[in-house]
């Protein structure tokens, strides 16, 4: 078991639907999420001890765009606040670590991103490696294509396996009101589609999405005071591989494997796994790296293939898992977030119900 200085629970969460195009500002998108979680816990917003957000200025195309987002939090009088240029799942990580100090009780975590205004494929190659990769146009989808090709070449997966991931994700999303895409698709139909970037087809890749997510986490005593059904964060860890695709085996994810070990993933049952499968081949790699078998329900929400608001999508995995546990769909599970191209960096968060 992972030993923690302080037990921490999720006490409130909210997400926007995954929008193809949200026709207002990013603060306008975040604000209802933030206000909802504050209302759920019944606190005055100025009594929240620490506030942290995850977003990416390249998505909105404005320097210091993340500062504008603070409008949505309500930061006057000034609040104790931080920001990560990462998915909101890493904001959750910082909030969780902050609570381990034991001197504060509550953290407001948010993540947001609007992919629709610009070209996130170009933006991300500039953000992650402007010197070597950006000039040759090595964007995340191209790297996902390398990864898919490597899986096929190694005999670890086929295009049919990718299509099966897509079909199951879209079918699962039919019950998810926040999903952008959903429906019944046959594997044969999917395989008849033209390539977008061989061996990837359009639905092997995520839709362009805008969205936001927020949650409140709290130390144990405060968590029980704030809600009847806290969802406990039993462990959280993130690890990173080399950013250069030729310096690692693209068919494996050593960083996810190490993170799984560090969070004690298999110290208990893994009923549900909400994985940031941004491109369908990633699910095959993650299932293997995390040692998931048929007993785990993978992406019952549909996952990022059915709605992928970058910078909120990882935090949304944690929310989808927390909601499933609250609904009694499982007692224990893992949420996964990734950052960088081709699953370069991986975060795992083990949640457990209050039972």
């Amino acid at each position: 078991m992972v030993s923690l200085a302080e037990d921490v629970a999720i006490v409130a969460f909210e997400q926007t639907p995954s929008h193809a195009h949200f026709n207002d500002s990013e603060p306008a998108m975040i604000m209802p999420c933030v206000n909802s979680v504050i209302e759920q816990v019944g606190m005055d917003r100025h009594d929240i001890d620490f506030t942290i957000a995850g977003s990416c200025d390249y998505l909105s195309g404005m320097p210091f765009a993340f500062v504008m987002n603070i409008d949505a939090v309500g930061a006057w009088p000034p609040v104790y606040e931080s920001h990560v240029e990462m998915d909101g799942a890493w904001a959750l990580f910082e909030g969780f670590v902050r609570l381990q100090s034991g001197d504060i009780d509550t953290v407001l975590v948010s993540g947001s991103g609007k992919c629709s205004p610009g070209s996130y494929r170009e933006g991300f190659s500039l953000q992650t490696d402007p010197y070597v990769h950006a000039p040759i146009g090595l964007d995340p989808r191209t790297q996902a294509g390398f990864q898919a090709q490597a899986l096929i070449a190694a005999g670890k997966a086929t295009e049919r396996d990718f299509a099966e991931v897509v079909a199951r994700s879209h079918a699962n999303a039919k019950d998810n009101p926040y999903a952008q895409l959903s429906g019944d698709l046959s594997v044969d139909e999917l395989l008849a589609e033209p390539y977008l970037q061989q061996p990837l087809r359009r639905l092997d890749c995520p839709p362009t999405s805008d969205g936001a997510a927020a949650m409140v986490i709290a130390r144990a005593d405060k968590a029980r005071e704030l809600c009847d059904n806290p969802v406990w964060i039993r462990a959280i860890d993130h690890r990173i591989d080399s950013h250069h695709p030729t310096l690692r085996d693209l068919t494996d994810s050593p960083s996810a494997r190490i993170a799984a070990d560090r969070v004690g993933l298999h110290d208990g049952p893994v009923d549900i796994a909400e994985l940031t499968v941004t491109y369908s081949p990633e699910e095959i790699i993650l299932r293997d790296a995390l040692g998931l078998n048929g007993e785990t329900s993978v992406n019952p929400s549909g996952g990022p293939l059915t709605g992928s608001p970058f910078m909120a999508v990882g935090l949304t995995r944690v929310i989808e898992l927390a909601r499933a546990i609250r609904n009694g769909d499982g007692g224990r599970g893992v949420a996964h977030a990734s950052s960088g191209p081709a699953l370069q960096q991986n975060l795992l968060c083990v949640l457990e119900g209050d039972g």
């Binding site: 500002s25 603060p27 306008a28 604000m31 309500g74 930061a75 609007k114 205004p117 933006g123 950006a134």
Partner: protein, 198 residues
């Protein structure tokens, strides 16, 4: 033990040696990387309302539903409370200088600006925060906090959906607002008064 910062790392101080096959290759000393990205910018409903109104020579603010404070430019939210501010308020094009700065360096791309120029926080009559503008029509040495100003607009046939419709702010000649009640001082005084009442 910390490294002595005056000693450069070995990689920088030592001789650079290359494998034989790279001996005649020209070393890379710099790269050019594309940094142009295009966006379909969405100003959002609050900024859209603000910019559209400029075409009719109007300056719009938004009012806090919590205590009626007026913000300009409007951002759709009262940042103190995280409350949506759907109510627009039309503001006059008169106010005072809440604070200012005399700049003696040119701005790239603004050859039209005469040096020195004055940028100032303009506090419109009826607004609770200031917004940025240029002050002209007066010697820079005479600009002062609390000085009353009005907008000088572009001719009607040049108006667009932009804050650039206001060329600059010029003195009205009215008596100054006392410094203790000018700019953010007015805001703080109002807050203190509200606190005493509460």
């Amino acid at each position: 033990m910390s490294a002595d910062p005056s000693i450069p790392p070995a990689a920088l101080s030592g001789e650079v040696s290359l494998p034989e096959k790279l001996a005649d290759v020209e070393p890379v000393r710099s790269v050019r990387t594309p940094i142009r990205l295009e966006y379909d910018f969405i100003p959002g409903s609050a900024s859209s309302g603000y910019l559209n109104a400029f075409a009719d020579r109007k300056i719009l603010g938004q009012q806090s539903p919590v205590d009626g404070a007026v913000f300009v430019p409007p951002r759709g939210v009262d940042p103190r409370h995280g409350a949506a501010t759907p109510e627009y308020v039309e503001l006059p094009d008169t106010g005072h200088v809440g604070g200012f700065c005399v700049t003696r360096l040119p701005i790239p791309g603004r050859d039209d600006l005469e040096i020195p120029y004055v940028s100032a926080w303009i506090h419109l009559d009826g607004a609770d925060i200031g917004f940025l503008g240029l002050v002209a029509g007066i010697d820079t040495s005479e600009v002062r906090m609390g000085m009353r100003v009005r907008a000088v607009w572009k001719p009607d046939d040049e108006l667009g959906r932009t804050a650039e419709n206001i060329l600059y702010w010029e003195p009205t000649g009215e008596p100054d607002i006392p410094v203790t009640a000018a700019g953010t001082n007015a805001w703080h005084a109002k807050q203190a008064a509200a606190g005493e009442q509460g």
